[in-house]
């Protein structure tokens, strides 16, 4: 009779499995045909093993989070790893006693309640299980502290909870203390505990314990488990299992699409709300603290995402870089913007009626086709320098947008105007292909990103001027004089995190001056705040963020602040006394 206490646990678990089966089943069925094929084809390959490894390292050990924030990582590891081991060794213990694994799940879970006998290894297992429990309890204690004061974790702000989250959270908090109490009560009565439960059991004996009390505690333990299981699929804890699914799908080569689909949903539900993205977000400088990725994902789940939040993001990619779960935060946000602006994409009908420029008569196919881009046209210093370097190196080129050019389409993409961007892409693509040039040279990382990701230019190599000039320098086509000026380099978001170009600009700068390192650079570099990704950030706020970025960059008092993006240059130059130069200008000067 008294074993009815297993019911909450059992029913909760059954409920959980049914819900998960339905949810995951639906998501996986909704994946595109090609994606499903990818899963089938990759299933019996190394990818599965890699996925298992990563699931272990990230889902249980929380390595990435540990690297970012050791205390936070430890807390997550306590819960995930501790609980995982508790289940595994619970089964081992049950196997050792019953000699079979084919026992109903409540036997291993409530082993202590059922088995009071001695068996070989019993002492060791009891102590081991106690140790694991203690390990988890240390995490629980940290979680209590975090709730009370998140500052000890170095976290600016944690996420807000909705009612079901609260149910799950409170149950989770109670599970392990209750397990401790229940096992200790049993230990007090039967002496079968380990070092921890026996100790607490002595205390119970001292205050006097009865089988009714013991039963009540086991009921409480089972109830907390049951509540947690029921609440889990509707709370943030859904991430525990979804993350594993996500890791597997990612390893099978499934990529996020422009449109929000079930894979996007899986990513959204994989977020553990650890808050790392809040910490790295520069918006805090301007006291904006409601638009960080974790909130956006939460809003997507709760279906209450407002335009203001959606658009107020620089899309600098710092959060994506920092995300321990490796969620494609930028693309997820853009996919939401695509959804929000779907109804009003332009068709740019005028592109069809533009007068066709007479084909340039050239002796031979140009070596490069140069696309300056809108932004470079308002930084004539960059444009002039690029052309100067090309001339000096004797490179034949066609200047694609010298007089009249359409935008590359990236700003539209950032705004979510995906279909509209396609029109511009088609228009420019034709012009690029018509030139027959093997290299497309761009001087704006914003253009570079979209050319690389969305243009499908076939054999044509796309190069940012920093990459191309480095090649020219290595080939000896241009020679650079090294000055003793100290230079600090700012990684433009679209070039660095966006396209992974970190070294070529630095190599060039080392050839032309005295390159200094900055506190936060490469993948961790800060955004200049000028980003076109943000639609609603005010100029005043942009200036505040820019000011903080400059503080970091100019810490070493460099002579020159170098960057490789016309937009970053325009952003930095306002209201600052230090010389801001594009890498093209530095190279052009160093050639003299």
């Amino acid at each position: 009779m008294e074993t009815y206490f297993i019911l909450p646990f059992t029913l909760g678990m059954i409920f959980l499995f049914i819900v998960l089966f339905i949810k995951y089943g639906l998501w996986i069925t909704k994946l595109s045909h090609i994606d499903k094929l990818r899963i089938v084809q990759s299933f019996f390959t190394r990818r599965t093993w890699d996925a298992i490894k990563e699931s272990f390292m990230e889902g249980l050990v929380h390595r990435n989070m540990y690297k970012r924030n050791p205390l936070l990582g430890y807390m997550h590891m306590c819960f995930a790893m501790g609980w995982f081991l508790l289940i595994v060794f619970g089964h081992v213990e049950s196997y050792m006693y019953y000699g079979t694994l084919a026992k109903a799940p409540w036997y291993p879970i409530f082993f202590q309640y059922y088995v009071h006998d001695w068996f070989p290894g019993e002492r060791f297992m009891a102590n081991l299980m106690d140790f694991l429990l203690l390990y988890i309890l240390s995490g629980v204690l940290l979680a209590y502290f975090k709730r009370i004061n998140s500052k000890i974790f170095g976290i600016k702000k944690t996420t807000k909870l909705k009612p079901l989250d609260r149910v799950a959270l409170i149950s989770l908090w109670f599970i392990f203390p209750l397990r401790l109490l229940a096992e200790s009560a049993t230990a007090a009565l039967y002496g079968n505990g380990g070092f921890l439960t026996n100790t607490v059991g002595h205390f119970f004996t001292w205050i006097g314990v009865t089988p009714t009390m013991e039963s009540a505690l086991w009921w409480a333990y089972s109830l907390s488990l049951g509540f947690f299981f029921v609440g889990l699929p509707f709370s943030r804890y859904m991430h525990i299992l979804t993350e594993i699914l996500f890791i597997f799908l990612r390893h099978y080569g499934i990529k996020l699409k422009k449109q929000f689909n079930s894979y996007s949903r899986i990513q959204v539900y994989s977020c553990s709300r650890c808050g790392v993205c809040i910490d790295v977000c520069q918006m805090h400088v301007a006291n904006i603290s409601n638009n960080q990725s974790v909130y956006i994902l939460k809003n997507i789940r709760d279906q209450n995402l407002t335009d203001r939040k959606l658009y107020n993001c620089l899309l600098c990619g710092r959060c994506e870089q920092a995300c321990p779960v490796r969620i494609n935060l930028n693309d997820l946000r853009i996919s939401q913007r695509i959804r929000a602006t779907k109804e009003y994409n332009s068709d740019y009908a005028f592109l069809q009626t533009l007068p066709v420029e007479p084909p340039q008569v050239v002796d031979k196919t140009p070596e490069v086709i140069y696309f300056a881009g809108c932004m470079t046209h308002i930084t004539p210093g960059i444009k002039k320098s690029v052309l100067k370097v090309l001339d000096k190196a004797g490179v034949s080129y066609q200047f694609m947008d010298k007089e009249k050019g359409a935008c590359c389409g990236r700003p539209l993409m950032l705004a979510g105007q995906y279909e509209a961007a396609q029109k511009l892409i088609a228009y420019n693509r034709e012009k690029i292909l018509d030139s027959k040039a093997p290299i497309l040279l761009v001087s704006c990382p914003i253009c570079y990103k979209v050319f690389r990701d969305d243009y499908e230019l076939g054999q044509i190599t796309i190069k940012h001027h920093s990459e191309y000039f480095l090649e020219l320098a290595k080939q000896g086509k241009i020679s650079l004089n090294k000055s003793d000026k100290s230079i600090v380099y700012h990684d433009p978001c679209e070039l660095g995190r966006g396209c992974g170009v970190y070294e070529p600009p630095r190599d060039l700068l080392r050839m032309t001056g005295n390159l200094q390192t900055s506190q936060q650079e490469k993948v961790n570099s800060l955004c200049c705040s000028g980003s076109l990704g943000d639609m609603s950030l005010s100029m005043a706020d942009r200036n505040v963020i820019k000011g903080e970025t400059l503080k970091v960059l100019l810490k070493s008092n460099p002579d020159v602040l170098a960057t490789a993006c016309p937009l970053c240059k325009k952003t930095f130059v306002k209201g600052v006394d230090v010389q801001v130069k594009d890498i093209a200008e530095i190279v052009a000067e160093a050639m003299e």
């Binding site: 602006t341 009003y344 332009s346 932004m375 935008c407 005010s538």
Partner: protein, 115 residues
């Protein structure tokens, strides 16, 4: 209605009380910086779309202020959102957001171009 071979002309007078303020109200509510426009025209002169078409964002924004929305849809669709105007505006107006708000506003209020 009878045809006399001539019709009344629409008055060009701006009657402030009769202005259709829905769109401008929506824009200003969501992007207050739009209030600061002094019509200097640098946005229009620098405009990538204006270089290719007759698009005149300054004029369009004045028309929107006056509720003159007969061609807004056709015009605003010429903008490529490149952001040059954003970098040029001496008043720091968040022009790209204004454009998106115009587009969204036209959709919300179901404002169509006059054929």
């Amino acid at each position: 209605m009878r045809n006399f071979g001539f019709t009344t002309t629409k008055s060009r007078t701006i009657e402030y009380e009769k202005i259709d303020k829905r769109l401008i109200g929506y824009i200003l509510e969501n992007e207050p910086s739009f209030n600061a426009c002094l019509s200097c025209g640098s946005c229009t002169a620098i405009c990538s779309a204006g270089n290719l078409t007759s698009f005149n964002i300054r004029k369009l924004s004045l028309q929107i202020r006056l509720g003159d929305l007969e061609k807004t849809h056709e015009e605003i669709d010429k903008c490529m959102l490149c952001g040059k105007c954003l970098l040029e505006c001496p008043r720091g107006i968040n022009t790209r957001n204004v454009i998106m708000l115009i587009k969204k506003g036209l959709t919300i209020f179901e404002i169509k171009d006059k054929a």
